[in-house]
Amino acid sequence: VATTTTAAQVETRQPVRLRHRRTASGAFYAFISPWLIGTILLTLFPLGYALRVSLTNWDGISPKFAWVGLQNYRDVLADPTTWASLGRTLLLAVIVVPLTIAGGLGLALMVNQKVRGRSLYRTLIYLPAIVPAVAATLTWKLLFDRDNGAINGLLALVGLPPVDWLAGNIVFVVLIVVMLWGIGGGMIINLAALQDVPTELKEAARLDGAGTSAIFRHVTLPVISPILLFQAITVTIAVLQTFVPALLLSPVSGPAGITAVPQANQVYMISVYAQYFAYSRYGFASAMLWLFFIVILLITFIFFKVSGRAVFYAVDPSQEGRG
């Protein structure tokens, strides 16, 4: 059979293939354009704007300002208050991230059991996660109120003196409690992951003599490890950017409360907000944000690097998507 393609055939096939490719790429760009334009306008443009402001001594109002080069970055790096707030933020992440992931996984393992009324338990545990953060924080603030809070009421019942929960260092504990209150969100993700673990793998392990603990360690954990990595990254970023709960636990309501946030709760974003809107140091605050952006990028990069061996992918991510 002659397989030689004539010049005429080539001429007719090429425009068809080219048209098909153009149509496909057009559809691709059309579908991603809302996200791409949104990213350019709402992320890249503000980032660029903040970068520009970070190179000035602008106060947010004054028509006069000067270009100060990298001075704001040097000031941020030399500022002990900034380092202290970064330290508090990292401490918060070190405490909250493992507790959120481990707690969510533990709850998911429990409600994954075939027990009576498990749908009800799942709902009850998940419910706090859908309560708006503002409402949840204010509720906890009322519960921890020194004079009228239920927590001190319980302490009084057993003869203990009232504790000033919303002041001093102990308010950091209250912040942790508030942040862990939404742990049900992690439970739902872990539950979905657990239900995706192939039963045949667990059955095979059990036939080989593995116990519950061994099956969890050697079958369940590896299979759900990509989900755990996903949670580790997203929860870490969310905790590093903690702002609303810390602000709402301030004894003074509203934006003015920013300067009344107890020192123990002055996490990084609180410091940034204070620099912008309490001190009117827009250049300094923008430099803080840019440095924080770099820190978060670095942490994410480190997560991916160190998790390489610990995370099990059923499909090699480097090969995924290749036809």
Binding site: R22, A30, I37, D59, P63, D145, P162, R281
Partner: protein, 444 residues
């Protein structure tokens, strides 16, 4: 070009165009010439509980050709509008602390000529409080006018619960004889009641070491917080340390809400009206609030401003009023609104309620004097007004920023981690750092 055949280069070109358009749009608005923006009507940034629907209806009836859009006061939004070069035409502010900043930045319109020609705001009829809105480039209280007061009070005065004070054996002040700050603290200790580890009644009002408050205290000792050129502040002077010590002593004694024992209600009225606090820090305007609860009217009395030194000075730290943007395209209409709201029918109505003293002397006759507390308060106020004085604040930083810096350091002293001398040193350094940044921004 149909969407199905758009090329990658074309798509990126479009996206870049969109970004460029946004950037150009922003810079265009930022570079708008003075007066750019709205063609008709006024944008007024103020509070809806002051410029009420009724006030707006009155305005609409009197000036149907000048529609008003009320923007709820929001400092973040104001900053954004200023940054974009499209500020509101009229803005509410605290003249006592904002004038140097607004005037020196060229943000507020010079109203001197307009006021000179005004009949509603006749110069001779204006209370000296309006001088708080004046700035001559180096001093507050003199030079061009940049705003007009809405209504005002001498804010270092305070209200006390006469029943609690008399029962507690506290020295009761008279209109002629103010208390010293030290005696005020002694009184507060007598009036504070504790039970089971909780404070059930505070003797003193809420306190916070702000530059306004400390400046007012220093004025009674013939001293100043800011240097003559307003470029630096000094809390380390003997008078500065005396003032700081008083705030530290109050916080340590826990005889009133402070930065280390913050009032959860945010202001003095709730604890004062409920009897949880025997005093409230406020001027004459608080009488309007008192009138809302008859039982409070029975015990509330106004006291003159306390003294730290021997000179009677009773300043204002607010002088709440409005300024007109230098970029307003409707400057005449904005001034018409300003004089109408500050000295016209709405001002007359406000004066009748007792929510502050009017901007003009002629409206003083409208102040309420039917209830005993109102008669007493007016008597105290009439005696106090002669001690009014404009205190100059710095144009190089907003007082909110300076106060934020102080409030970050003060708790350490209140907890005993810093001596008063160390507190004065640290606060002076922090405040001067912010002032220095402002001086550099101004090219000084």
């Amino acid at each position: 070009m149909s969407i199905s055949t758009i090329s990658r280069r074309g798509f990126l070109g479009l996206a870049a165009g969109a970004v460029a358009a946004t950037a150009v749009g922003c810079s265009a608005s930022g570079g708008q010439a003075p007066g750019g923006g709205k063609a008709a009507g006024l944008q007024v940034m103020s509070q809806a509980n002051e410029i009420t629907d009724e006030v707006l209806a009155q305005w609409k009836s009197a000036h149907p050709d000048i529609p008003i859009t009320l923007i709820p006061y929001d400092v973040t939004r104001l900053n954004a509008m200023l940054a974009a070069g499209t500020p509101p035409d009229v803005v509410r502010d605290l003249g006592a602390v904002a004038t140097p900043y607004l005037a020196s930045k060229g943000l507020a319109l010079d109203l001197t000529d307009r006021v000179a020609k005004s009949t509603l705001l006749a110069e001779a009829d204006l209370f000296p409080i309006n001088d708080a809105w004046r700035w001559d480039g180096t001093t507050q209280g003199a030079g061009p006018r940049y705003g007009i007061v809405k209504d005002w009070s001498q804010d270092m005065m305070f209200w006390y619960n006469k029943d609690l004070w008399e029962e507690g054996g506290a020295t009761v002040p008279t209109a002629e004889k103010p208390l010293s700050y030290d005696l005020l603290l002694d009184n507060a200790e007598k009036l504070t009641v504790r039970s089971g580890g909780k404070t059930t009644q505070y003797g003193l009002f809420g306190t916070q070491p702000t530059v306004e408050w400390i400046s007012a205290m220093l004025a009674t000792a013939d001293a100043k917080l800011f240097s003559d050129d307003l470029k630096t502040a000094d809390f380390t002077s003997p008078e500065g340390q005396q003032a700081l010590k008083w705030f530290v002593d109050v916080a340590k004694a826990r005889v009133g809400y402070s930065l280390v024992d913050v009032n959860p209600d945010g202001w003095d009225w709730p604890p004062f009206s409920s009897g949880r606090s025997a005093s409230a820090q406020a001027g004459y305007w608080f009488g309007g609030q008192v009138s809302t609860e008859p039982k409070v009217a029975d015990f509330a009395r106004l006291a003159p401003a306390p003294l730290m030194g021997n000179t009677r000075v009773s300043p204002t730290i607010a002088a709440t009023g409005h300024w007109i943007s230098a970029k307003s395209k409707a400057q005449d209409e904005a001034f018409t609104f300003l004089e109408w709201f500050s000295a016209g029918d709405p001002a007359k109505e406000r004066a009748k309620t007792g929510w502050g003293l009017p901007a003009t002397k002629s409206l003083m006759t409208e102040l309420p004097k039917t209830k005993p507390y109102q008669v007493d308060a007016l008597k105290t106020q009439d005696s106090e007004i002669q001690y009014f004085k404009v205190i100059s604040f710095s144009p190089y930083a907003q007082t909110t920023a300076l106060n934020a810096a102080i409030s970050q350091i003060f708790p350490k002293a209140a907890k005993g981690d810093l001596s008063v001398g160390q507190l004065a040193d640290e606060v002076t350094a922090a405040v001067n750092k912010l002032l220095d940044e402002g001086v550099k921004r101004a090219g000084g």
